[in-house]
């Protein structure tokens, strides 16, 4: 039982390790720096969005619109390039993402719309705006050389994108575990009434969580547009499922109150490694989804059935 409980506790690490092991045995040269670098870069987009989603899920919220926000931010960043220049346009793209998050936050905090419903609606709306702005056509950027520069590999493994992802995860880890605001986030997600009665403002916390998630979806969208030199209204249409899967595989509870940044890192890497390995083996895409789905179910079932120690353990010792 304790062995199993320990395995469950570090399940992300175990699953990631197993994935890497199987991949290295079946895919020749999988553990080479260049393959890992590629996998990390491919995971970075999901990862940056998942970083924001981790915060939202801990706060017992969810944002289904991140894929649409991703597209909208990218389009903003590309379409404004001729008018205000590349970097101001990129900033505008990120701000567009934050604004989208603010709209979601407003709906769910001020107008008390359930986050699932509110962001389902904005998912459709943001996506439609993206099509409308672009006439449903991809928009090219002004500087094609920039995408080459952005794909440059540093320290033999990091691209700008993957470095940003890992940096964001580490910052989030410190914020969640060590800062007062981070601990308050768990309180809000676990028991909002208790948090409020203790003088914490749950509404403000939740609103800022939405803005944060929107801004990070914006960052990912802008990076995507700059590296492809294209803003497209269909970008990120299927991202949301993978993002939520990565966060949940990482041990963050969809019911709020529990989760970790390093877990999300593990979840993202697992999914990235799986995808990369299976692509190298020419496994069809739909089989890849089946495997990801099964791993997700396995982890959640383990989480629900194996508890680290009986609930009343401490109680029995104290009052006997």
């Amino acid at each position: 039982m304790t062995m199993l409980a320990r395995l469950v506790r570090y399940r992300v690490t175990v699953i990631l390790g197993l994935t890497l092991l199987v991949a290295s045995l079946t895919v020749p040269g999988f553990l080479s720096i260049s393959t890992l670098s590629l996998g990390l870069d491919r995971g970075a987009t999901i990862g940056i969005i998942a970083t924001g989603m981790t915060v939202l899920l801990i706060a017992r919220q969810i944002d289904l619109s991140v894929g649409s926000t991703f597209a909208l931010a990218g389009i903003t960043a590309v379409m404004l390039q001729p008018a205000i220049g590349i970097w101001p346009a990129a900033l505008a793209g990120v701000l567009a993402g934050a604004a989208a998050g603010a709209i979601n936050g407003l709906l769910s905090v001020v107008f008390k719309v359930n986050a699932l419903v509110a962001t389902l609606a904005t998912m459709l709306i943001f996506r439609s705006i993206a099509h409308w702005l672009t006439d449903s056509q991809p928009v090219p950027g002004t500087d094609i050389m920039l995408s080459v520069a952005l794909s440059k590999i540093y320290l033999e493994i990091f691209t700008l994108r993957s470095a940003l992802f890992v940096g964001a995860i580490l910052l989030l880890h410190v914020w969640l575990t060590r800062t007062v605001a981070g601990r308050n986030l768990f309180a809000v997600g676990s028991n909002a009434d208790a948090a409020e009665a203790s003088g914490i403002a749950p509404g403000r916390t939740v609103f800022l969580a939405f803005v944060f998630a929107g801004a990070l979806a914006g960052v990912a969208g802008v990076l995507q547009s700059l590296t492809t030199n294209t803003g497209s209204p269909v970008f990120g249409a299927e991202l949301i499922v993978t993002v939520i899967a990565a966060v949940v595989v990482g041990g963050t509870r969809i019911e709020g109150g529990r989760g970790s940044a390093l877990g999300t890192l593990g979840g993202v890497l697992t999914i990235a490694a799986l995808t990369t390995a299976m692509e190298f083996q020419s496994v069809p895409a739909y089989i890849q989804q089946v495997v990801s789905g099964l791993i997700l179910i396995l982890l959640v079932v383990l989480d629900r059935t194996v508890r680290p120690g009986p609930r009343t353990h401490a109680a029995a010792g104290a009052s006997g």
Partner: protein, 499 residues
């Protein structure tokens, strides 16, 4: 007396909700360094008054002065800044954070911009030690028992070094030992000059700890007087507005053949080798200190937890109970201790809650008969005088006593042969308590067998035919009503021989 010596002065406080006047012109004066009890039945306005004091409600009229300064509190944070701390009856803690983080929730100490975990753990250990609680500050709060969580809630309020501390039914989940420890700490806080507002239904406790008593009834203040020279009977009379002669009346009933028999039952952790039988028409009391294994035993009998050894017989036939559904089929019903989490579905109406276990009975060809459903709810609402008498009201909006009556009637409609009650009157006021006892009395008179878990000794002594006492997972032999006394039960519960 100078104004500064008065901790709290509320004048003419009224609070009106659409259609209801919850408080009408209440005055309350509380001095520093005194324990001021507020008593009253459920619905008397205690909670509303305390919500005004904690900044949750803005009063419709009236003024509040803290230490002589008039204040306006719009949210809980305002009240906290003024040094007012609440210990809620419904626990207000965060299950997913550690004990230490809960104690410091909303005011965590910082060091170089980060939460100072070391300081929190250190200080929490000191405070818990002062409170006489053996709880690990690092433990996840959700893993603690309810009584331990209650102590954490008290530690949380105390740690904030408040000027005024409000305790709402603080002992409802504490054992007698823990209550004594709480009273020691309250006396200490009193000496530190803290003003203590103590809300309780337990009249005896109030007289033991309080210096002053304010009685509320129907949203109005009836009287404030020193606790000296007021008797239990007088206080109850003021609370209910009538004389209540016997707080725990016993309805006589005819005792028949054994219905439920538990043989050598154990879960190899919380309780071991438990034997007892309950007979038709009998109330069997199950008492002991909190954490002695009573609830776990009841849950195992009802199939909510797994027993690893022993067997259960109903009407002389062995039954296998692997789930609550199997227990209900075997004729066993269970009313849990944690009403909010396990007893009711708060978002459903009283009617829907009552008919929940019997929907199949009420339906024909898969369609629930609304007429039968309504008739059932109407019947129980009237019979148990559930207030307000509106079966369509959301049950979450009812007071604790009325919720409990609805939970009881829910199981009555299922017509079980054995009813397991876990702390059926916890956090319920005197009037509703008597009514719940009357209902239980009627049930056994009708031939049901009842197992009642209770920590309240007067209740156990007053209501039960036989009592078994649990200690560290072991059950004593049943003690007959005639041989019972508080001393005898405490001796069995603590393992100390009575002198």
């Amino acid at each position: 007396m100078s104004a500064a010596a008065t901790a709290l002065r509320m004048r003419g406080i009224s609070k009106t909700f659409p259609g209801v006047k919850a408080l009408s012109s209440v005055n309350l004066t509380v001095e520093f360094g005194r324990v001021h009890a507020i008593v009253g039945e459920n619905g008397a306005g205690k909670s509303t008054l305390m919500k005004v004091l904690s900044g949750t409600y803005l009063p419709t009229t009236g003024t509040t002065e803290i230490a002589g300064v008039e204040v306006r509190m719009r949210k809980p944070a305002d009240a906290q800044r003024l040094g007012i701390r609440m210990v809620h009856q419904e626990l207000n803690l965060v299950p997913d954070l550690s004990v230490a983080e809960n104690v410091y929730l909303g005011r965590m100490p910082r060091r170089w911009g980060l939460a100072d975990k070391a300081a929190m753990l250190r200080e929490t250990a000191v405070i818990l030690d002062e409170l006489g609680a053996t709880i690990d500050p690092k433990a996840r709060l959700g893993d603690l028992s309810i009584s331990q969580q209650q102590l954490v809630e008290i530690a949380k309020a105390y740690a904030a070094a408040p000027r005024i501390i409000v305790l709402d039914e603080p002992t409802s989940s504490l054992s007698e030992h823990e209550t004594a420890a709480l009273f020691r700490i309250l006396r200490k806080m009193k000496q530190q000059g803290i003003a203590i507002i103590y809300i309780s239904h337990r009249v005896k406790e109030v007289l033991e700890i309080a210096d002053d008593v304010t009685i509320l009834r129907d949203g109005s203040m009836i009287d404030t007087r020193p606790a000296d020279g007021i008797t239990v009977a007088e206080m109850i009379r003021l609370m209910v507005g009538r004389e209540v002669t016997n707080v725990f009346p016993k309805t006589p009933s005819e005792i028949g053949a054994p219905v439920l028999k538990v043989v050598a039952l154990g879960d190899s952790y919380n309780f071991r080798n438990v034997n007892f039988e309950v007979r038709k028409g009998e109330i069997l009391g199950l008492t002991g200190l909190v954490g002695a294994g009573r609830t776990e035993l009841a849950k195992a009998v009802f199939g909510l937890a797994r027993a690893t050894e022993g067997r259960i017989e109903v009407d002389g036939k062995p039954v296998v109970i692997g789930s609550p559904a199997a227990a209900v089929r075997a004729g066993i019903a269970y009313v849990p201790e944690d009403r909010k989490d396990e007893g009711i579905v708060p978002s459903l109406s009283v009617r829907e809650n009552i008919s929940l276990p019997v929907l199949r009975k009420l339906s024909r060809f898969g369609r629930v008969s609304m007429t039968a459903d309504r008739r059932l709810a109407d019947k129980y609402t009237k019979e148990f005088s559930i207030m307000p008498p509106d079966p369509e009201r959301r049950i979450g909006l009812l007071s604790g006593g009325n919720q409990q009556k609805a939970v009881l009637s829910k199981w009555l409609s299922a017509d079980p042969s054995v009813l397991l009650l876990d702390e059926p009157t916890r956090g319920v006021d005197v009037g509703a308590k008597a009514e719940i006892h009357r209902i239980i009395g009627e049930l056994v008179a009708g031939g049901m067998a009842v197992v009642m878990i209770s920590s309240e000794l007067p209740e156990v002594l007053g209501v039960c035919d036989r009592v078994i006492v649990m200690r560290d997972g072991h059950a004593s032999a049943p003690v007959d009503r005639a041989a019972l006394s508080e001393e005898k039960i405490m001796a069995l519960a603590t393992g100390e021989e009575a002198a």
